[in-house]
Symmetry: C2
């Protein structure tokens, strides 16, 4: 966990693309089980993560997903996708298309930008 807000926290997912997971702080199964305040912050955080990933990593596409079929606790995946990544154009849960990108993911500078944007939005 590198960000711990009032109603949500954010972790990296170990992967060869920039991949974040936003967790609702309250342990709920579905989005519609969450409080209004948590839902508002989740949506704002999704958009802030997307915007910051686009600026920082210049991906070809952003992917967003909320499944929780194994871990029934609300969490949202935000992935920066590249045309030469391991699965593109398949979702990261689909069939592998090629070898991993060799790119190093610069986490520290991105985290600083993201945390600043989240704090500015009072999340």
């Amino acid at each position: 966990m590198f960000f711990n807000g009032k109603n949500l926290y954010i972790e990296w997912h170990e992967a060869t693309i920039p991949w974040l997971k936003i967790f609702a702080a309250e342990p709920r199964k579905e989005l519609t089980d969450c409080s209004e305040r948590t839902l508002a912050d989740l949506w704002s955080a999704v958009l802030i993560c997307e915007r910051t990933m686009r600026e920082h990593y210049k991906p070809d596409k952003i992917n967003v997903a909320s499944f929780g079929n194994r871990l029934a606790r609300v969490h949202i995946h935000i992935m920066a996708r590249f045309e030469d990544d391991s699965h593109f154009p398949e979702p990261m849960w689909g069939q592998r298309q090629r070898a991993d990108r060799p790119t190093q993911i610069d986490r520290a500078a991105f985290e600083a930008k993201l945390i600043a944007a989240l704090k500015q939005a009072d999340i």
Copy 2:
């Protein structure tokens, strides 16, 4: 298309589970390219679709995803998942786990409920 709102429209995805696609009316690549109004309606529609699916289909889990790696136009998938469906607990883009559910999807009664809820929310 069975619902055409001010800023979005909704289609069924042909599948053996209840599966909707919410499209932004404005042709944008990423969520953060959409107008504030479209974003607000998309998020409300996601929650209304989830709530109506839960009430009507009693799924084991709702899945939500926005990829657009092939069709770079903002659209959000909302899926009602069941423990005995073809892919559970994998996402619908993952590896098939078993045969399709034989269940008939009752669309008409669900559509009526969903459209009423969307109209009530002024979407």
